[in-house]
Amino acid sequence: MLRTEINELLTQTGPGTRMGDLFRRYWMPALLAEELPDDDCAPVRVKILSERLVAFRDSQGRYGLVDEFCAHRGVSLWFGRNEDSGLRCAYHGWKYDYTGQCVEVPSEPETGNFAANVKLRSYPLVKVGDVLWTYLGDPEHQPPLPEWEFVRVPGEQTYTSKRWQECNWLQALEGGIDSSHVTFLHSGNLNTDPLFKGSKGNEYNKNDVKPFFEVAENEGGLLIGARRNAEEGHYYWRVTPWVMPNFTMVPPRGDHPVHGHFWVPIDDENCWVYTFDYHPVRALTTAEVDAMKAGLGVHNENIPGTYRPVANKDNDYLMDRDAQRRGEMYSGIKGIAIQDSSLQESMGPIVDRTKERLVATDAGIIKARQRLRKAALALAEQGTPPPGLAPEHQRIRSASIVLPADQSMLDGVRDAVVARPGVAQTTV
């Protein structure tokens, strides 16, 4: 359980909040690159960390992320015209460049300097991999660009999707580090999903449904190990990294691509879930990419033209009670992503953690909350930069591995959890 004030501290990420200040120290996914596919394409509304912005790509291919509302009368610039290296308000023609600088006010004399004194709040928007990243913090503290392996491998080796989840970012993230739910909620998918099936690790999973857990501190966050019995004298370990504040990875299965998530606050009651799959040393096959686009693995199917899942709270997530009874899907909901989102959204927009009844196997969640709280307070009170900013904290991987029973998890996976170009993932 958490006290009310701690729950609020961890879940509120708007401007001026302590967790909001913490988030504003990191590069965050703001859009998929596919959302701004061409120069002068349609602008896109972006809400992130409770700030309403508009993103556009100008005539010279430069990305802009600026205040959504025109400085003149507060009209949304989403209705504007993206033309001639700027976004022009549809109401009175005020025009802004990619930095938010007003460059033209048609009603004012051309020789005047009125426009030069008008500038919208703007943030950097940078393409790294298939993702457009933004940094909403003080430019003085801007860290190096993201080093996550999923955006640093060649384009043919990686695929990222995105979905809207209608709950606070923290309860979505907590699903990503809660290894104990996998045995139940996702039990129907391991042997049928083309992006999971066929691995030796699946057999260990099936044969030992009561794993032991080890929660180990790591420089950028945590390593959460789930340990199951393997052959005599050996354990099968699945190691989930969490890097502060909102990055998690899922341990791999066989030679299938490795996957993970970014859990990005839209506001305090909604978040974007960026879901990636990549292979460190080979191109994804057509079949794999087709499966991801079809919503298999950890991806989902969205309503065409949107990032809202087809299965959502308006249709009870397309619950299939017959499939549940037949044992095909533990919860009757199709797909890992929606199995998670349906339950996490059912908790309410911001779950009341004063009423929860945690158990010892929730140690990963307990520890993550503690680290988030301490980092937010250290930043607020001493200006201490939070963990997870350094490029070496981001060069991380999940791992699955069989180790001798007397070998420590940390010793056994020390190399396996470091992302190294050209080196395959450690997987069983």
């Binding site: 359980m1 958490l2 209608e166 709950c167 032991f212 857990f213 080890e214 929660v215 180990a216 501190e217 009651e269 709270k313 308006d314 009870d316 997530y317 349906s342 959204e345 059912s346 908790m347 309410g348 927009p349 911001i350 009423k355 009844r357 945690l358 158990v359 010892a360 196997t361 929730d362 140690a363 307990i366 520890k367 503690q370 029973a405 007397d406 420590s408 940390l410 010793d411």
Partner: protein
């Protein structure tokens, strides 16, 4: 398939507005938890945490190397292990060295027989690796490395 006709008969009931109508009622009593220091390094951490206000938690040092007897923190009373585990929800073993390996085995086995959840905290110390090896077989959940604050957080989180 029958379609929901009321807001609270579909998943839309998870909105903030509907969440206000959730039933409020007192929480169940706190969990009975036992915290055992397995060595001298752990003893100082457990003594420090025992001084906090807890509901149904008890704190112990080892009364015998094999763990069959415990010493209650505070009173210093020596008690046999088995009765102290009656009706307990969780046992948290705290280790800083491998000295308590034998006791961890005894306590772990006793918990298994009774269906009591076990957790282990390995304190950040020069001998962390040995302590970890000693605890790993007997703790369903391990936190490593941990400190006094981790123990407090864990106990608070499980309403100890």
């Amino acid at each position: 398939m029958a379609r929901p006709v009321l807001l609270n008969s579909c998943a839309r009931a998870a909105t903030a507005a509907e969440a206000r109508f959730r039933i409020g009622y007192p929480l169940v009593p706190s969990r009975a938890t036992r915290v055992v220091a397995l060595d001298d390094v752990a003893a100082s951490a457990v003594r420090a945490v025992a001084g906090h206000a807890w509901h149904h938690s008890r704190f112990y040092l080892l009364g015998s190397p094999d763990g069959l007897h415990l010493e209650r923190v505070g009173s210093g009373e020596s008690v046999p292990l088995a009765p102290e585990l009656d009706g307990v929800d969780a046992v948290v073993m705290v280790a800083g060295t491998a000295d308590g390996a034998s006791a961890a085995a005894t306590i772990g086995a006793s918990c298994t027989v009774r269906g009591v959840m076990t957790a282990g905290l390995v304190l950040d110390d020069d001998e962390t690796r040995d302590a970890l090896a000693a605890l790993r077989p007997y703790a369903r959940v391990l936190m490593v490395p941990a400190d006094v604050e981790d123990l407090v957080e864990l106990l608070r989180a499980i309403r100890a």
